[in-house]
C-alpha cells in the first residue's frame, strides 16, 4: 500500500462544531485530494492540491476548506459541521510525472455529525 494515513479514522461530533481531518503521505507525491463517499453518489471531489499552498475547489467544496503547508500533509476542515457532512472521507495522492493518472487512496475517515 502507498504510504498514506488518515486521522482520525472515526469521529462523531455535533452540529456546529469544527472538525479537521488529516492526510499524511510518505510518497512525496505532488498532488493530493479529498473525496467524500456517499451511497448513491459514489466519490465526489471536495478539494485538491497540486503543491504546497496551491489548492483548488472540487465538485462539492461548499462548507469545506483545506490547507497544505507541507508536501506530506493535506488538512480538510469543516468550519461548522452539519448533518449533511456525515460521510466517509477519502484522501488520495498522485504523481503527475508518472503519466499513469493513478490515484492512491487512504483507508478513509468515517465522520458522523449528530
Amino acid at each position: 500500500d502507498a504510504g498514506i494515513t488518515q486521522s482520525p479514522r472515526h469521529k462523531v461530533t455535533e452540529t456546529g462544531t469544527p472538525v479537521t481531518l488529516r492526510c499524511h503521505q510518505t510518497e512525496n507525491h505532488r498532488y493530493m485530494y479529498w473525496y467524500r463517499q456517499d451511497p448513491g453518489h459514489g466519490l465526489r471531489l471536495i478539494h485538491y492540491s497540486y503543491g504546497v499552498k496551491d489548492t483548488d475547489k472540487g465538485e462539492v467544496s461548499d462548507g469545506y476548506s483545506v490547507s497544505r503547508s507541507k508536501t506530506e500533509d493535506f488538512l480538510l476542515t469543516l468550519e461548522s459541521a452539519t448533518s449533511s457532512q456525515t460521510s466517509v472521507y477519502f484522501c488520495a495522492i498522485s504523481d503527475p510525472d508518472s503519466n499513469t493518472g493513478e490515484l492512491f487512496f487512504g483507508e478513509g475517515s468515517r465522520l458522523t455529525v449528530l
Binding site: Y33, Y35, R44, L45, F90, T100, G101, E102, L103, E107
Partner: protein, 108 residues
C-alpha cells in the same frame, strides 16, 4: 463538464457466470478512463486503465468512443470478485471524476 454514468447500483451473478459492469461517459475531448475497485475493508485501488489495454484478475475493458462506453468484463466470475467497482474519467492532466459505483455480488 465530464460525467460518468454507471447505470447499475447492484449486479448479482453466480460463480462462473460472465460479468459486464457498464460505464458510459460524456466528455467532448479524449479522456483517460479507469476502473477502480474497493474490496470489503480494503482501500480503493486501481483495477485497470484503458490506455494500458491490459487484463487484470481476468477483467478487461474496451474503450468504445462511438458509444462513449468503457464496460468492464470478465468471462467467469469468482466469489473473490465481489466488491464495489467505480468507473472514472480524467481529462488529460486534470482531476478524476467517478461514477456512482456498482456493487458486484458473486454467489457460490
Amino acid at each position: 463538464a465530464q460525467r460518468v454514468t454507471q447505470p447499475e447500483k447492484l449486479l448479482s451473478v453466480f460463480k462462473g457466470a460472465p460479468v459486464e459492469l457498464k460505464c458510459n461517459y460524456s466528455y467532448s475531448g479524449s479522456p483517460e478512463l479507469f476502473w477502480y475497485v474497493q474490496y470489503s475493508r480494503q482501500r480503493l485501488q486501481l483495477l485497470l486503465r484503458h490506455i494500458s489495454r491490459e487484463s487484470i484478475k481476468g477483467f478487461t475493458a474496451d474503450l468504445n468512443k462511438g458509444e462513449t462506453s468503457f464496460h468492464l468484463k470478465k468471462p467467469f466470475a469468482q466469489e473473490e470478485d465481489s466488491a464495489m467497482y467505480y468507473c472514472a474519467l480524467s481529462p488529460r492532466y486534470s482531476t478524476l471524476t467517478f461514477g456512482k459505483g456498482t456493487m458486484l455480488l458473486v454467489s457460490p
